[in-house]
């Protein structure tokens, strides 16, 4: 299955912005953003965005898994038998996730206990599988890493924006530091599960709004 990359970001100026690596990367961050572009990996997005620290650790974990996984799959792409593709992806992903999970347990023990099973659930995260199947299996390691990095940064961007507003409105703090004085009441709806859905809906609403506006301007 060949991926059709829409190379519609011609930039003038720097050579970097004209390279194929950059285009693949930018495509993943904005047009094919995992959250609002392709709507993948919603489980973790909704679950970990109540606090910025959780969202940050989770984003880094997903980005690392994505990049390492895409690189490995891309390197061995000619050796993988076509029929056993899925199970090969899964074995490689779960090996990487076990390693990342052990690192998180050691580096951030407090965050690790609040994240619970969601780090392990990166194994079944559609973003990782999607990037393997759609890109890494047909492309060189260099391009695959750019593509995975784009998807990872796009995921990080979405998570951090949602977590910023959820923590600010729900707890009045950012990364655990109080920024809103106690005299102003917080809306705890945003820190509980139903609020996650509303926060995601509002985020998608504003992204679509910006996208529409941007496209209208881009027509000239």
């Amino acid at each position: 299955m060949a991926e059709h990359i829409n190379l519609k970001l011609p930039r003038k100026g720097y050579k970097l912005f004209k390279s194929k690596n950059w285009m693949v990367f930018a495509e993943g961050v904005w047009h094919n953003n995992p959250i609002f572009g392709m709507v993948l990996g919603l489980c973790s997005t909704l679950a970990v965005t109540n606090l910025m620290a959780n969202a940050f650790v989770m984003s880094i974990a997903v980005t690392v898994v994505l990049v390492v996984n895409s690189a490995v799959i891309s390197l061995i792409r000619n050796l993988i038998p076509d029929r056993a593709r899925m199970i090969t992806y899964m074995l490689i992903v779960s090996t990487i996730v076990i390693t990342v999970d052990l690192f998180i347990k050691i580096l951030f023990p407090k965050v690790s206990s609040t994240l619970g099973p969601y780090v392990a659930l990166i194994i079944t995260n559609c973003i990782v599988m999607g990037r393997c199947e759609a890109f890494a299996i047909n492309n060189t390691p260099g391009l695959s890493i750019s593509d995975a990095l784009g998807a990872g940064i796009g995921y990080t961007f979405s998570l951090m924006v949602i977590a910023f507003f959820r923590e600010l409105i729900g707890f009045g703090s950012l990364f655990g530091f109080k920024v809103i004085p106690d005299s102003i009441p917080t809306i705890s709806l945003f820190s509980v599960p139903p609020g996650a859905f509303f926060a995601l809906a509002i985020f998608i609403f504003f992204v679509n709004y910006i996208k529409k506006k941007y496209k209208l301007e881009g027509k000239h």
Binding site: V39, L42, I123, P194, A201
Partner: protein, 193 residues
């Protein structure tokens, strides 16, 4: 016994796996357009969830813990799930062809459904015993079925309304799910995990 019933009702209503833990969100958004399909998917997920949770409990207890290699849990669980899904598919195709046609297409998708793996992971985190795992997986499966069928019904009604266009399909489904999750909070008094 009371403890088992608490686990059952809590996992169906108050700690619903889709609305509280957000597991299995991808099919929740994509498949819930059609209520009949949602129902088939829900049944298939419930069935596979119970079978894989019990298998994983046995493997975890008698192989991984016995050998002291719990760090391989994720790898072993996902392989077990993939294998079990294949076995179930072959078995149903051979003995219940009608059932195979009803949810045959969903079975391969279920391997990558995070709710299935999530149940096995929660079971380990909460150190459930054999019967607790059984009631927990049955309850979670039914809870997921209830959530996806209800959102399918809500989305059917949405055909007649005219939401703000910027929300798109995903946005408006998220709003519906949020309202449903709020309604499920009303069950909090019944049981709690």
């Amino acid at each position: 016994m009371i403890n088992l019933l608490v686990i059952l009702f809590a996992s169906i209503l108050t700690s619903n796996i889709a609305l509280t833990y957000f597991l299995g969100m991808c099919p929740f958004v994509t498949i819930s357009k059609n209520m009949k399909v949602a129902y088939g998917m829900g049944l298939a997920v419930t069935f596979v969830m119970v079978v894989t949770a019990m298998t994983n409990w046995l493997i975890n207890k008698f192989i991984l813990e016995a050998l002291g290699i719990e760090f391989l849990q994720f790898l072993v669980f996902i392989v077990t799930i993939a294998a079990m899904v294949q076995i179930i598919e072959i078995f149903i195709d051979r003995y219940f062809p009608a059932l195979y046609h009803a949810f045959g297409i969903f079975l391969p998708l279920i391997t990558v459904n995070c709710a299935i793996l999530g149940i096995s992971l929660f079971m380990v985190l909460r150190t459930y015993g054999f019967f607790e795992t059984l009631f927990f997986s049955v309850g979670s499966g039914l809870g997921w079925l209830l959530a996806i069928v209800s959102i399918g019904a809500l989305r059917k009604k949405m055909i007649f309304s005219n939401p703000l266009e910027h929300f798109g399909v995903t946005g408006i489904t998220a709003v519906l799910a949020g309202l449903m999750a709020l309604a499920f909070i009303g069950f909090t008094g019944i049981a709690r995990l």
